[in-house]
């Protein structure tokens, strides 16, 4: 496996429904499965596609596909349910074997919830492809391991690929005496003197300057994968992982040409934490996407 740490979590089938699109709801108990001080690199949902029944008619190639969609399902505090799309792909209805779906976003969102966190709920729906009144019902032939009496071997699985932040993450604030060249990813302090800027001198009342931070240094790259890496992911870079607003008071022109103080909050100007993340990988975000 390409990650330093690799865990597999077995899923539990909560519900299944058969309508226009057949759907499964899977539950994964992830509490304490993601070790503290680790960074989630990738989460893959693996579903075993059972072969179609021998009596199933062979359909023309065009209609022998189905669209499998994975959504993160969340029960909101008011009891309502909301689903967010995390991955979708076409499968051949006559195929069988393990299919992998990228559910990194779902696990990332789930991690942002306040403890105690409920199990991670993933809804897997299978729709006919192509859409339209003439489309065949071939999608009903797609059945995953959770739907039958098979043993645990065919049960849905969630693979969690993590990196130890101690070895692969950022190191907090940069040491002032250490040269930035070749340093490990860290948060470097910088000062912006607003009063020294011509446009700000009579406009910005507070603060006189901004004590800010930037992310500097290099990130350790994970070992070369034995399995194909997640698509579209670039090298890990040192980026702002958590930001906050900066308050300022400016003189704003009011009616009558009079300038009055006005309090503003400039979002995301303060870097609170730096982290290493691959290009294209999601950074931790607030719970509601």
């Amino acid at each position: 496996r390409f990650s330093q740490s690799f865990r597999e979590v077995a899923g539990r089938l909560l519900a299944s429904e058969a309508s226009e699109a057949s759907a499964l709801v899977l539950a994964f108990g992830l509490e304490r499965r993601l070790p503290a001080g680790s960074e989630l690199v990738r989460a893959a949902l693996r579903l075993f596609q059972r072969p179609p029944p021998p009596a199933a008619p062979r359909r023309p190639e065009r209609s022998a596909r189905a669209q499998v969609t994975v959504e993160w399902l969340r029960v909101l505090p008011d009891g309502s349910r909301r689903a967010w799309l995390v991955d979708s792909r076409l499968v051949n209805v006559h195929d069988s074997g393990w299919k992998a779906f990228d559910v990194t976003d779902a696990v990332t969102f789930w991690r942002q919830l306040s403890p105690p966190r409920p199990p991670l709920l993933l809804r897997v729906s299978v729709r006919r492809e192509p859409l339209g009144p003439g489309a065949a019902g071939a999608h009903r032939l797609v059945r995953f391991g959770a739907q039958g009496p098979e043993g645990a071997e065919a049960a849905p699985r969630l693979e969690l690929h993590t990196l130890d932040l101690e070895a692969y993450g950022a190191q907090g604030d940069c040491r002032p005496e250490a040269p930035a060249e070749g340093a490990r990813c860290c948060r470097r302090e910088s000062y912006l003197d607003l009063q020294g800027l011509r446009w700000a001198a009579h406009w910005v009342l507070e603060p006189p300057g901004l004590l800010l931070h930037e992310c500097a240094g290099a990130c350790r790259q994970p070992p070369a994968p034995r399995a194909p890496p997640a698509p579209f992911l670039g090298p890990r870079r040192c980026v702002a992982a958590e930001t906050g607003p900066v308050p300022v008071i400016v003189r704003a022109a009011a009616e009558g040409g009079e300038a009055r103080p006005r309090l503003l909050s400039l979002p995301d100007l303060r870097v609170r934490r730096c982290g290493c993340a691959a290009d294209g990988a999601p950074l931790p975000r607030p719970a509601a996407p």
């Binding site: 912006l192 446009w199 700000a200 009342l205 901004l210 906050g244 400039l266």
Partner: protein, 55 residues
């Protein structure tokens, strides 16, 4: 972060296309009303220490 980025953020918040040209004011600090000053200080503290308080 550069002065240009701060300027851009300010202009965006105020929906302006360029920095206003305002005459210099003598005692600028005194012109800020007390409630606004208190609100500014509260935001400043939250901006610096929000994370550690959460912990």
């Amino acid at each position: 972060l550069t002065g240009e980025q701060v300027l851009h953020s300010l202009l965006e918040q105020l929906q302006l296309s360029q920095a206003p040209v305002l005459p210099g004011a003598g005692a600028q600090g005194a012109a800020i009303p007390a409630p606004m000053r208190a609100q500014y200080v509260a935001l400043l503290h939250r901006s610096h220490g929000g994370r550690s308080r959460e912990k």
